[in-house]
Protein backbone atom coordinates (compact mmCIF):
# COMPACT_ATOMS: atom_id res chain seq x y z
CA UNK A 1 0.00 0.00 0.00
CA UNK A 2 1.18 3.50 -0.77
CA UNK A 3 0.73 5.95 2.04
CA UNK A 4 1.00 8.88 -0.40
CA UNK A 5 0.54 8.66 -4.14
CA UNK A 6 0.73 11.62 -6.50
CA UNK A 7 0.34 11.69 -10.24
CA UNK A 8 1.01 14.75 -12.34
CA UNK A 9 0.40 16.78 -9.21
CA UNK A 10 0.80 20.53 -9.57
CA UNK A 11 -0.02 23.64 -7.58
CA UNK A 12 -0.04 27.11 -9.02
CA UNK A 13 -0.21 30.34 -7.05
CA UNK A 14 -1.13 33.07 -9.50
CA UNK A 15 1.18 32.45 -12.47
CA UNK A 16 3.90 30.68 -10.53
CA UNK A 17 3.96 26.92 -10.20
CA UNK A 18 5.01 26.04 -6.66
CA UNK A 19 4.90 22.38 -7.58
CA UNK A 20 4.90 20.83 -11.05
CA UNK A 21 4.43 17.40 -12.58
CA UNK A 22 4.94 15.67 -9.28
CA UNK A 23 4.52 11.93 -9.58
CA UNK A 24 5.56 9.69 -6.74
CA UNK A 25 4.60 6.73 -4.60
CA UNK A 26 5.61 6.60 -0.97
CA UNK A 27 5.22 3.11 0.49
CA UNK A 28 3.59 2.65 3.89
CA UNK A 29 5.64 2.03 6.99
CA UNK A 30 8.47 4.37 6.01
CA UNK A 31 10.00 7.45 7.53
CA UNK A 32 10.18 9.67 4.49
CA UNK A 33 12.35 12.76 4.36
CA UNK A 34 11.24 15.51 2.01
CA UNK A 35 14.34 17.56 1.38
CA UNK A 36 14.95 20.65 -0.66
CA UNK A 37 16.03 24.26 -0.50
CA UNK A 38 13.67 27.02 0.58
CA UNK A 39 10.91 27.55 -1.96
CA UNK A 40 11.37 24.10 -3.45
CA UNK A 41 7.71 23.22 -2.88
CA UNK A 42 8.03 21.10 0.26
CA UNK A 43 5.25 22.84 2.19
CA UNK A 44 3.10 22.93 -0.93
CA UNK A 45 3.37 19.17 -1.36
CA UNK A 46 2.61 18.54 2.33
CA UNK A 47 -0.38 20.93 2.30
CA UNK A 48 -1.76 19.07 -0.72
CA UNK A 49 -1.24 15.70 0.97
CA UNK A 50 -3.09 16.74 4.15
CA UNK A 51 -5.88 18.40 2.16
CA UNK A 52 -5.25 21.98 3.26
CA UNK A 53 -4.97 23.03 -0.37
CA UNK A 54 -6.40 21.57 -3.55
CA UNK A 55 -4.31 20.67 -6.62
CA UNK A 56 -4.22 22.91 -9.68
CA UNK A 57 -3.30 19.85 -11.74
CA UNK A 58 -3.14 16.09 -11.24
CA UNK A 59 -4.22 14.28 -8.11
CA UNK A 60 -2.94 13.09 -4.77
CA UNK A 61 -4.29 10.24 -2.67
CA UNK A 62 -3.28 9.08 0.77
CA UNK A 63 -3.62 5.99 3.00
CA UNK A 64 -4.08 3.73 0.00
CA UNK A 65 -6.32 5.57 -2.41
CA UNK A 66 -8.22 8.02 -0.24
CA UNK A 67 -8.65 11.47 -1.68
CA UNK A 68 -6.52 13.95 0.23
CA UNK A 69 -8.71 16.07 2.50
CA UNK A 70 -11.63 13.62 2.44
CA UNK A 71 -13.13 12.66 5.82
CA UNK A 72 -11.48 9.25 5.67
CA UNK A 73 -8.11 10.86 4.90
CA UNK A 74 -8.42 13.45 7.68
CA UNK A 75 -9.31 10.65 10.07
CA UNK A 76 -6.06 8.76 9.50
CA UNK A 77 -3.56 11.60 9.08
CA UNK A 78 -2.14 13.82 11.79
CA UNK A 79 -0.42 16.98 10.65
CA UNK A 80 1.98 19.17 12.57
CA UNK A 81 2.36 22.38 10.60
CA UNK A 82 5.37 24.64 10.43
CA UNK A 83 5.99 26.55 13.68
CA UNK A 84 3.58 24.11 15.41
CA UNK A 85 0.48 26.32 15.61
CA UNK A 86 -1.41 25.95 18.93
CA UNK A 87 -4.05 28.05 20.62
CA UNK A 88 -1.55 30.01 22.66
CA UNK A 89 -4.07 31.48 25.09
CA UNK A 90 -5.52 28.08 26.03
CA UNK A 91 -4.19 25.76 28.73
CA UNK A 92 -2.57 22.51 27.65
CA UNK A 93 -5.57 20.60 29.08
CA UNK A 94 -7.91 22.52 26.75
CA UNK A 95 -5.72 21.70 23.73
CA UNK A 96 -6.09 18.04 24.69
CA UNK A 97 -9.84 18.45 25.13
CA UNK A 98 -10.23 20.17 21.76
CA UNK A 99 -8.12 17.64 19.89
CA UNK A 100 -10.01 14.77 21.52
CA UNK A 101 -13.36 16.36 20.63
CA UNK A 102 -12.44 16.95 17.00
CA UNK A 103 -11.40 13.37 16.30
CA UNK A 104 -12.96 9.94 16.38
CA UNK A 105 -9.96 8.39 18.12
CA UNK A 106 -7.88 9.98 20.83
CA UNK A 107 -5.60 8.17 23.24
CA UNK A 108 -6.02 10.33 26.31
CA UNK A 109 -3.94 8.16 28.67
CA UNK A 110 -1.06 8.30 26.17
CA UNK A 111 -1.32 12.10 25.88
CA UNK A 112 -1.44 12.56 29.68
CA UNK A 113 1.45 10.19 30.31
CA UNK A 114 3.57 11.69 27.56
CA UNK A 115 3.07 15.26 28.79
CA UNK A 116 3.80 14.22 32.36
CA UNK A 117 6.99 12.58 31.13
CA UNK A 118 7.93 15.82 29.36
CA UNK A 119 7.17 17.84 32.49
CA UNK A 120 4.48 19.91 30.74
CA UNK A 121 1.86 21.00 33.31
CA UNK A 122 -1.75 20.67 32.02
CA UNK A 123 -2.76 24.02 33.45
CA UNK A 124 0.02 25.98 31.79
CA UNK A 125 -1.07 28.01 28.77
CA UNK A 126 0.31 26.67 25.52
CA UNK A 127 1.83 30.06 24.70
CA UNK A 128 3.83 30.03 27.95
CA UNK A 129 5.65 26.81 27.08
CA UNK A 130 9.15 26.85 25.66
CA UNK A 131 9.57 26.34 21.91
CA UNK A 132 10.66 22.77 22.44
CA UNK A 133 7.70 22.04 24.74
CA UNK A 134 5.27 23.58 22.25
CA UNK A 135 6.65 21.36 19.52
CA UNK A 136 6.41 18.32 21.80
CA UNK A 137 2.83 19.24 22.74
CA UNK A 138 1.82 19.53 19.07
CA UNK A 139 3.50 16.21 18.35
CA UNK A 140 1.85 14.53 21.36
CA UNK A 141 -1.58 15.75 20.26
CA UNK A 142 -0.91 14.44 16.75
CA UNK A 143 0.30 11.03 17.94
CA UNK A 144 -2.55 10.64 20.45
CA UNK A 145 -4.90 10.63 17.45
CA UNK A 146 -3.29 7.26 16.61
CA UNK A 147 -2.76 8.25 12.98
CA UNK A 148 -1.57 5.92 10.26
CA UNK A 149 0.38 8.77 8.69
CA UNK A 150 2.13 11.53 10.58
CA UNK A 151 3.00 14.57 8.47
CA UNK A 152 5.48 17.10 9.85
CA UNK A 153 6.36 20.35 8.12
CA UNK A 154 9.81 21.63 9.15
CA UNK A 155 9.20 20.36 12.67
CA UNK A 156 12.62 21.08 14.14
CA UNK A 157 13.60 24.23 12.25
CA UNK A 158 12.96 26.50 15.22
CA UNK A 159 14.32 24.20 17.93
CA UNK A 160 17.64 24.12 19.72
CA UNK A 161 19.80 20.99 19.26
CA UNK A 162 18.58 19.21 22.40
CA UNK A 163 14.92 19.88 21.65
CA UNK A 164 15.55 18.69 18.08
CA UNK A 165 17.02 15.48 19.31
CA UNK A 166 14.15 14.83 21.73
CA UNK A 167 11.55 15.65 19.12
CA UNK A 168 13.03 13.32 16.51
CA UNK A 169 13.41 10.59 19.12
CA UNK A 170 9.64 10.76 19.80
CA UNK A 171 8.85 10.64 16.09
CA UNK A 172 11.12 7.68 15.44
CA UNK A 173 9.81 5.83 18.47
CA UNK A 174 6.28 6.17 17.12
CA UNK A 175 7.44 4.98 13.72
CA UNK A 176 9.19 1.89 15.04
CA UNK A 177 6.93 0.97 17.93
CA UNK A 178 3.50 1.74 16.45
CA UNK A 179 4.22 1.42 12.74
CA UNK A 180 3.16 4.98 11.98
CA UNK A 181 4.27 6.12 8.54
CA UNK A 182 6.04 9.44 8.75
CA UNK A 183 6.44 12.13 6.12
CA UNK A 184 8.54 15.06 7.21
CA UNK A 185 10.11 17.98 5.45
CA UNK A 186 13.32 19.52 6.61
CA UNK A 187 16.42 21.29 5.53
CA UNK A 188 18.23 20.09 8.65
CA UNK A 189 19.72 17.07 6.99
CA UNK A 190 21.70 15.61 9.85
CA UNK A 191 18.56 15.18 11.93
CA UNK A 192 16.93 13.18 9.18
CA UNK A 193 19.85 10.93 8.66
CA UNK A 194 19.28 8.91 11.76
CA UNK A 195 15.78 7.80 10.96
CA UNK A 196 14.74 8.43 7.40
CA UNK A 197 14.69 5.39 5.18
CA UNK A 198 12.99 6.99 2.20
CA UNK A 199 14.05 10.19 0.50
CA UNK A 200 12.35 12.68 -1.78
CA UNK A 201 14.44 15.52 -3.10
CA UNK A 202 12.55 18.54 -4.32
CA UNK A 203 14.01 21.50 -6.14
CA UNK A 204 12.24 24.35 -7.87
CA UNK A 205 8.87 22.70 -7.67
CA UNK A 206 9.95 19.38 -9.13
CA UNK A 207 10.91 15.98 -7.79
CA UNK A 208 14.61 15.41 -8.49
CA UNK A 209 15.12 12.15 -6.67
CA UNK A 210 12.86 9.68 -4.90
CA UNK A 211 13.51 6.25 -3.45
CA UNK A 212 14.57 4.11 -0.53
CA UNK A 213 17.67 5.55 1.11
CA UNK A 214 19.66 2.31 0.88
CA UNK A 215 18.97 1.97 -2.84
CA UNK A 216 19.83 5.59 -3.52
CA UNK A 217 23.06 5.42 -1.55
CA UNK A 218 24.06 2.25 -3.37
CA UNK A 219 23.22 3.59 -6.80
CA UNK A 220 24.93 6.93 -6.33
CA UNK A 221 27.93 5.75 -4.38
CA UNK A 222 27.47 8.23 -1.55
CA UNK A 223 28.32 7.44 2.05
CA UNK A 224 25.47 9.23 3.75
CA UNK A 225 22.08 10.71 3.18
CA UNK A 226 23.50 14.15 3.84
CA UNK A 227 26.17 13.81 1.16
CA UNK A 228 23.68 12.51 -1.34
CA UNK A 229 21.27 15.36 -0.72
CA UNK A 230 23.99 17.98 -0.79
CA UNK A 231 25.30 16.70 -4.11
CA UNK A 232 21.87 17.00 -5.66
CA UNK A 233 21.14 20.36 -4.14
CA UNK A 234 24.45 21.71 -5.47
CA UNK A 235 23.58 20.43 -8.94
CA UNK A 236 20.27 22.27 -8.82
CA UNK A 237 21.90 25.46 -7.61
CA UNK A 238 24.40 25.18 -10.44
CA UNK A 239 21.52 24.84 -12.89
CA UNK A 240 19.98 28.01 -11.59
CA UNK A 241 23.26 29.88 -11.80
CA UNK A 242 23.80 28.76 -15.34
Amino acid sequence: MNIVEASGLGKRYGRTWALRECTLEIPAGRVTALVGPNGAGKSTLLNLAVGLSTPSAGAVTVLGGRRAGSPAALDGIAFVAQDTPLYKNLPVADMIYITRSLNRRFDQPYARARLAELGIPPRRKAGKLSGGQQAQLALTLALARRPRLLVLDEPVAMLDPIARHDFMATVLAAATADGVSVLLSSHVLTELERGADYLILLARGQVRLAGAVDDLLGAHGQASLEELAMTYLRETTAEVTR
Partner: protein, 353 residues
Protein backbone atom coordinates in the same frame (compact mmCIF):
# COMPACT_ATOMS: atom_id res chain seq x y z
CA UNK B 1 5.19 8.35 -15.55
CA UNK B 2 3.24 6.20 -13.16
CA UNK B 3 -0.45 6.17 -13.85
CA UNK B 4 -2.76 5.79 -10.90
CA UNK B 5 -4.14 2.39 -11.68
CA UNK B 6 -5.13 1.48 -8.19
CA UNK B 7 -8.83 2.03 -7.60
CA UNK B 8 -9.95 3.80 -4.48
CA UNK B 9 -9.71 1.08 -1.89
CA UNK B 10 -11.49 1.96 1.29
CA UNK B 11 -10.29 0.12 4.33
CA UNK B 12 -12.45 -2.16 6.39
CA UNK B 13 -12.95 0.48 9.07
CA UNK B 14 -14.25 2.96 6.49
CA UNK B 15 -17.55 1.15 6.44
CA UNK B 16 -17.97 2.15 10.05
CA UNK B 17 -16.46 5.58 9.56
CA UNK B 18 -19.03 7.93 10.98
CA UNK B 19 -18.41 11.64 11.15
CA UNK B 20 -17.39 13.05 14.52
CA UNK B 21 -20.68 14.04 16.24
CA UNK B 22 -21.75 17.68 15.87
CA UNK B 23 -22.38 18.08 19.59
CA UNK B 24 -18.67 17.88 20.31
CA UNK B 25 -18.28 21.37 18.86
CA UNK B 26 -20.22 22.84 21.78
CA UNK B 27 -17.38 22.25 24.23
CA UNK B 28 -14.75 23.21 21.67
CA UNK B 29 -16.51 26.48 20.85
CA UNK B 30 -16.99 27.29 24.52
CA UNK B 31 -13.33 26.74 25.37
CA UNK B 32 -12.12 28.80 22.46
CA UNK B 33 -14.55 31.70 22.74
CA UNK B 34 -15.42 31.90 26.42
CA UNK B 35 -13.55 35.19 26.83
CA UNK B 36 -15.47 36.79 23.94
CA UNK B 37 -18.74 35.35 25.27
CA UNK B 38 -17.94 36.61 28.77
CA UNK B 39 -17.28 40.06 27.30
CA UNK B 40 -20.65 40.02 25.56
CA UNK B 41 -22.31 38.84 28.77
CA UNK B 42 -20.74 41.69 30.74
CA UNK B 43 -21.77 44.28 28.12
CA UNK B 44 -25.35 43.04 27.82
CA UNK B 45 -25.61 42.38 31.55
CA UNK B 46 -24.57 45.93 32.42
CA UNK B 47 -27.07 47.23 29.88
CA UNK B 48 -29.83 45.05 31.32
CA UNK B 49 -29.11 46.17 34.88
CA UNK B 50 -29.13 49.80 33.79
CA UNK B 51 -32.41 49.41 31.91
CA UNK B 52 -33.96 47.69 34.91
CA UNK B 53 -32.81 50.29 37.44
CA UNK B 54 -33.78 53.22 35.21
CA UNK B 55 -36.94 51.57 33.95
CA UNK B 56 -38.65 50.88 37.29
CA UNK B 57 -39.10 54.56 38.32
CA UNK B 58 -40.13 55.38 34.77
CA UNK B 59 -42.88 52.76 34.88
CA UNK B 60 -43.97 53.88 38.35
CA UNK B 61 -44.20 57.51 37.24
CA UNK B 62 -46.16 56.46 34.18
CA UNK B 63 -48.58 54.32 36.17
CA UNK B 64 -49.13 57.16 38.64
CA UNK B 65 -49.80 59.68 35.85
CA UNK B 66 -52.25 57.42 34.04
CA UNK B 67 -54.12 56.42 37.21
CA UNK B 68 -54.55 60.01 38.39
CA UNK B 69 -58.12 61.44 38.48
CA UNK B 70 -59.39 63.89 37.50
CA UNK B 71 -56.96 64.12 34.60
CA UNK B 72 -56.88 67.89 34.32
CA UNK B 73 -56.22 68.68 37.99
CA UNK B 74 -53.05 70.38 39.10
CA UNK B 75 -51.91 67.32 41.03
CA UNK B 76 -52.30 65.14 37.93
CA UNK B 77 -50.53 67.71 35.76
CA UNK B 78 -47.61 67.55 38.18
CA UNK B 79 -47.46 63.76 37.79
CA UNK B 80 -47.55 64.12 34.01
CA UNK B 81 -44.75 66.64 34.26
CA UNK B 82 -42.71 64.26 36.39
CA UNK B 83 -43.02 61.52 33.79
CA UNK B 84 -42.27 63.83 30.88
CA UNK B 85 -39.11 65.15 32.49
CA UNK B 86 -37.69 61.72 33.21
CA UNK B 87 -34.80 60.23 31.42
CA UNK B 88 -34.51 62.51 28.43
CA UNK B 89 -31.09 61.00 27.78
CA UNK B 90 -32.64 57.70 26.70
CA UNK B 91 -35.56 58.80 24.56
CA UNK B 92 -34.13 59.72 21.19
CA UNK B 93 -32.03 58.13 18.48
CA UNK B 94 -29.45 60.88 18.99
CA UNK B 95 -29.61 60.86 22.81
CA UNK B 96 -26.64 59.33 24.65
CA UNK B 97 -28.64 56.28 25.67
CA UNK B 98 -30.04 55.80 22.18
CA UNK B 99 -26.62 56.03 20.57
CA UNK B 100 -25.16 53.61 23.10
CA UNK B 101 -27.94 51.12 22.44
CA UNK B 102 -27.53 51.40 18.69
CA UNK B 103 -23.86 50.47 18.75
CA UNK B 104 -24.41 47.36 20.90
CA UNK B 105 -25.11 44.98 17.98
CA UNK B 106 -22.13 46.15 15.98
CA UNK B 107 -19.83 45.99 18.99
CA UNK B 108 -20.86 42.37 19.50
CA UNK B 109 -20.47 41.66 15.79
CA UNK B 110 -17.09 43.29 15.47
CA UNK B 111 -15.45 42.01 18.64
CA UNK B 112 -17.05 38.55 18.81
CA UNK B 113 -17.56 37.88 15.08
CA UNK B 114 -14.49 39.20 13.33
CA UNK B 115 -11.89 37.20 15.31
CA UNK B 116 -13.65 33.81 14.95
CA UNK B 117 -11.90 33.01 11.67
CA UNK B 118 -9.46 35.90 11.34
CA UNK B 119 -7.51 34.83 14.43
CA UNK B 120 -7.15 31.26 13.12
CA UNK B 121 -5.83 32.59 9.82
CA UNK B 122 -3.61 35.22 11.41
CA UNK B 123 -1.93 32.86 13.86
CA UNK B 124 -1.83 29.84 11.54
CA UNK B 125 -3.96 27.66 13.84
CA UNK B 126 -6.30 26.95 10.91
CA UNK B 127 -3.63 24.46 9.81
CA UNK B 128 -4.30 22.64 13.06
CA UNK B 129 -8.10 23.02 13.10
CA UNK B 130 -8.73 22.13 9.46
CA UNK B 131 -6.67 18.94 9.53
CA UNK B 132 -8.54 17.36 12.45
CA UNK B 133 -11.02 14.56 11.82
CA UNK B 134 -14.05 16.83 12.23
CA UNK B 135 -13.64 18.38 8.78
CA UNK B 136 -13.19 22.02 8.07
CA UNK B 137 -16.56 23.15 6.72
CA UNK B 138 -18.39 21.24 9.46
CA UNK B 139 -16.07 22.86 11.99
CA UNK B 140 -16.81 26.33 10.60
CA UNK B 141 -20.56 25.74 10.30
CA UNK B 142 -20.90 24.38 13.85
CA UNK B 143 -18.86 27.21 15.30
CA UNK B 144 -20.66 30.01 13.44
CA UNK B 145 -24.17 28.65 14.05
CA UNK B 146 -23.53 28.00 17.76
CA UNK B 147 -22.10 31.44 18.40
CA UNK B 148 -24.75 33.12 16.24
CA UNK B 149 -27.60 31.43 18.11
CA UNK B 150 -26.13 32.21 21.54
CA UNK B 151 -25.46 35.86 20.68
CA UNK B 152 -28.86 36.36 19.03
CA UNK B 153 -30.60 34.79 22.03
CA UNK B 154 -28.71 37.04 24.44
CA UNK B 155 -29.48 40.10 22.33
CA UNK B 156 -33.12 39.02 22.08
CA UNK B 157 -33.39 38.89 25.87
CA UNK B 158 -31.96 42.38 26.18
CA UNK B 159 -34.23 43.47 23.31
CA UNK B 160 -37.25 42.43 25.37
CA UNK B 161 -35.95 44.55 28.24
CA UNK B 162 -35.40 47.52 25.91
CA UNK B 163 -38.99 47.14 24.67
CA UNK B 164 -40.21 47.03 28.26
CA UNK B 165 -38.22 50.14 29.14
CA UNK B 166 -39.69 52.22 26.31
CA UNK B 167 -43.19 50.79 26.60
CA UNK B 168 -44.72 53.83 28.42
CA UNK B 169 -43.63 56.13 25.61
CA UNK B 170 -45.39 54.04 22.99
CA UNK B 171 -48.64 53.40 24.85
CA UNK B 172 -51.84 54.47 23.15
CA UNK B 173 -53.60 57.51 24.59
CA UNK B 174 -50.51 59.33 25.81
CA UNK B 175 -51.32 62.35 23.66
CA UNK B 176 -54.74 62.79 25.22
CA UNK B 177 -53.23 62.82 28.69
CA UNK B 178 -50.43 65.18 27.70
CA UNK B 179 -47.83 62.44 28.25
CA UNK B 180 -44.66 62.35 26.22
CA UNK B 181 -45.03 60.02 23.29
CA UNK B 182 -42.56 58.62 20.79
CA UNK B 183 -43.62 57.51 17.33
CA UNK B 184 -42.72 53.79 17.40
CA UNK B 185 -41.09 53.80 13.98
CA UNK B 186 -38.95 56.84 13.94
CA UNK B 187 -36.76 56.25 16.94
CA UNK B 188 -35.12 53.08 18.13
CA UNK B 189 -36.97 50.83 15.70
CA UNK B 190 -33.94 48.59 15.36
CA UNK B 191 -33.49 48.22 19.12
CA UNK B 192 -36.81 46.62 19.91
CA UNK B 193 -38.69 43.47 19.07
CA UNK B 194 -37.02 41.06 16.67
CA UNK B 195 -34.91 43.73 14.98
CA UNK B 196 -32.38 43.90 17.82
CA UNK B 197 -31.34 40.22 17.79
CA UNK B 198 -31.55 40.21 13.98
CA UNK B 199 -29.13 43.13 13.70
CA UNK B 200 -26.83 41.49 16.25
CA UNK B 201 -26.88 38.29 14.21
CA UNK B 202 -26.15 40.19 10.98
CA UNK B 203 -23.28 42.07 12.63
CA UNK B 204 -21.75 38.81 13.89
CA UNK B 205 -21.97 37.15 10.48
CA UNK B 206 -20.59 40.23 8.71
CA UNK B 207 -17.69 40.08 11.19
CA UNK B 208 -17.04 36.39 10.51
CA UNK B 209 -17.06 36.88 6.73
CA UNK B 210 -14.85 39.97 6.97
CA UNK B 211 -12.41 37.94 9.07
CA UNK B 212 -12.35 35.17 6.47
CA UNK B 213 -11.78 37.65 3.63
CA UNK B 214 -9.26 39.93 5.35
CA UNK B 215 -7.54 37.26 7.49
CA UNK B 216 -6.42 39.79 10.12
CA UNK B 217 -8.29 40.54 13.31
CA UNK B 218 -7.96 44.32 13.61
CA UNK B 219 -8.65 45.23 9.96
CA UNK B 220 -11.57 42.78 10.03
CA UNK B 221 -13.02 44.58 13.07
CA UNK B 222 -12.68 47.95 11.32
CA UNK B 223 -14.28 46.58 8.15
CA UNK B 224 -17.16 45.13 10.18
CA UNK B 225 -17.84 48.50 11.81
CA UNK B 226 -17.82 50.23 8.41
CA UNK B 227 -20.01 47.69 6.60
CA UNK B 228 -22.48 47.51 9.46
CA UNK B 229 -22.74 51.31 9.69
CA UNK B 230 -23.38 51.50 5.94
CA UNK B 231 -26.05 48.81 6.10
CA UNK B 232 -27.77 50.37 9.12
CA UNK B 233 -27.81 53.86 7.59
CA UNK B 234 -29.05 52.58 4.22
CA UNK B 235 -31.80 50.57 5.93
CA UNK B 236 -32.97 53.37 8.20
CA UNK B 237 -32.69 56.07 5.55
CA UNK B 238 -33.92 54.42 2.39
CA UNK B 239 -35.04 50.83 2.72
CA UNK B 240 -37.32 50.58 5.74
CA UNK B 241 -40.02 52.98 4.49
CA UNK B 242 -40.59 50.75 1.46
CA UNK B 243 -41.32 47.49 3.35
CA UNK B 244 -45.04 48.07 2.73
CA UNK B 245 -46.71 50.58 0.42
CA UNK B 246 -47.39 53.71 2.48
CA UNK B 247 -50.95 54.82 3.11
CA UNK B 248 -51.99 58.07 1.45
CA UNK B 249 -54.48 60.49 2.96
CA UNK B 250 -55.77 64.01 2.50
CA UNK B 251 -56.81 64.31 6.13
CA UNK B 252 -54.46 66.87 7.62
CA UNK B 253 -54.43 65.36 11.08
CA UNK B 254 -52.44 62.16 10.65
CA UNK B 255 -52.06 60.46 14.04
CA UNK B 256 -48.93 61.55 15.88
CA UNK B 257 -47.75 57.96 16.19
CA UNK B 258 -47.59 57.49 12.43
CA UNK B 259 -44.37 57.61 10.46
CA UNK B 260 -44.78 60.44 7.95
CA UNK B 261 -42.95 59.53 4.75
CA UNK B 262 -43.74 62.60 2.62
CA UNK B 263 -46.09 65.54 2.01
CA UNK B 264 -47.21 66.99 -1.27
CA UNK B 265 -49.93 69.33 -2.47
CA UNK B 266 -52.27 69.31 -5.40
CA UNK B 267 -54.43 72.00 -6.88
CA UNK B 268 -57.42 71.22 -9.07
CA UNK B 269 -56.39 67.59 -9.27
CA UNK B 270 -52.84 68.35 -10.43
CA UNK B 271 -49.57 68.13 -8.58
CA UNK B 272 -48.59 71.53 -7.20
CA UNK B 273 -45.51 71.10 -5.01
CA UNK B 274 -43.88 68.73 -2.59
CA UNK B 275 -43.02 69.29 1.02
CA UNK B 276 -43.98 72.44 2.87
CA UNK B 277 -45.53 75.45 1.14
CA UNK B 278 -43.05 78.14 0.17
CA UNK B 279 -43.01 81.50 1.91
CA UNK B 280 -44.08 83.21 -1.33
CA UNK B 281 -47.19 81.09 -1.54
CA UNK B 282 -48.07 81.73 2.08
CA UNK B 283 -47.54 85.49 1.67
CA UNK B 284 -49.73 85.39 -1.39
CA UNK B 285 -52.67 83.55 0.13
CA UNK B 286 -52.29 83.42 3.86
CA UNK B 287 -50.84 86.80 4.84
CA UNK B 288 -54.12 87.62 6.54
CA UNK B 289 -53.64 84.97 9.24
CA UNK B 290 -54.19 86.37 12.72
CA UNK B 291 -50.80 87.71 13.83
CA UNK B 292 -49.35 87.84 17.28
CA UNK B 293 -50.13 84.30 18.43
CA UNK B 294 -46.63 83.02 17.92
CA UNK B 295 -45.82 80.77 15.05
CA UNK B 296 -48.95 79.58 13.27
CA UNK B 297 -49.24 75.84 13.12
CA UNK B 298 -48.99 73.79 9.95
CA UNK B 299 -52.66 72.97 10.38
CA UNK B 300 -53.57 76.63 10.15
CA UNK B 301 -51.66 76.96 6.88
CA UNK B 302 -53.27 73.84 5.57
CA UNK B 303 -56.74 75.24 6.28
CA UNK B 304 -55.81 78.53 4.66
CA UNK B 305 -54.37 76.89 1.55
CA UNK B 306 -57.34 74.52 1.39
CA UNK B 307 -59.60 77.56 1.09
CA UNK B 308 -57.64 78.46 -2.05
CA UNK B 309 -58.15 75.08 -3.68
CA UNK B 310 -55.00 73.30 -2.50
CA UNK B 311 -55.15 69.80 -1.10
CA UNK B 312 -52.50 68.41 1.19
CA UNK B 313 -51.53 64.78 0.69
CA UNK B 314 -49.61 62.77 3.21
CA UNK B 315 -48.09 59.35 2.76
CA UNK B 316 -47.37 57.56 6.01
CA UNK B 317 -46.87 54.25 7.74
CA UNK B 318 -49.41 53.79 10.53
CA UNK B 319 -48.17 52.71 13.96
CA UNK B 320 -50.18 49.50 13.57
CA UNK B 321 -47.56 48.33 11.06
CA UNK B 322 -44.86 48.25 13.71
CA UNK B 323 -44.88 44.45 14.09
CA UNK B 324 -45.19 43.63 10.37
CA UNK B 325 -42.21 45.90 9.81
CA UNK B 326 -40.30 44.22 12.63
CA UNK B 327 -40.87 40.79 11.07
CA UNK B 328 -39.96 42.02 7.60
CA UNK B 329 -36.71 43.51 8.89
CA UNK B 330 -35.96 40.46 11.04
CA UNK B 331 -36.74 38.20 8.08
CA UNK B 332 -34.45 39.79 5.53
CA UNK B 333 -31.65 40.14 8.06
CA UNK B 334 -31.97 36.44 8.87
CA UNK B 335 -31.90 35.58 5.17
CA UNK B 336 -28.88 37.83 4.65
CA UNK B 337 -27.11 36.19 7.59
CA UNK B 338 -27.78 32.70 6.21
CA UNK B 339 -26.41 33.81 2.85
CA UNK B 340 -23.28 35.30 4.41
CA UNK B 341 -22.69 32.13 6.47
CA UNK B 342 -22.95 30.09 3.27
CA UNK B 343 -20.44 32.42 1.58
CA UNK B 344 -18.10 32.11 4.57
CA UNK B 345 -18.29 28.30 4.48
CA UNK B 346 -17.58 28.34 0.76
CA UNK B 347 -14.47 30.46 1.40
CA UNK B 348 -13.38 28.16 4.23
CA UNK B 349 -13.72 25.11 2.01
CA UNK B 350 -11.80 26.54 -0.95
CA UNK B 351 -9.19 28.51 0.98
CA UNK B 352 -5.77 27.10 0.20
CA UNK B 353 -3.13 26.95 2.90
Amino acid sequence: MTAMTRPARPDEDDVRLRPVPWRRMAGVTWRQHRIALAGVAVLLGALAVYLWIAGLPLHHAYAAAVACHPAGSAACQALVGTFNSMDSHMTGAASPGGVLLQVVPVLIGAFAGAPVLARELETGTFRYAWTQGFGRWRWALAKLVLLAVVLAAAAGTVGVLVSWYYQPYFAAGNQALGLYEIPPFVTLFSLRGVAFPAWTLAAFVIGALAGMLIRRVVPAIVATLAVYAGLAVATGGFLREHYLTPLVTTIPNVPGTAWIISHWWTKDGRFAFAGNPSLNLLNQFCSSLPPGQGKPSVGTFAQCLAQHGYTQWTSYQPASRFWPFQWIEGGWLLALSALLIAATLWLVQRRAA
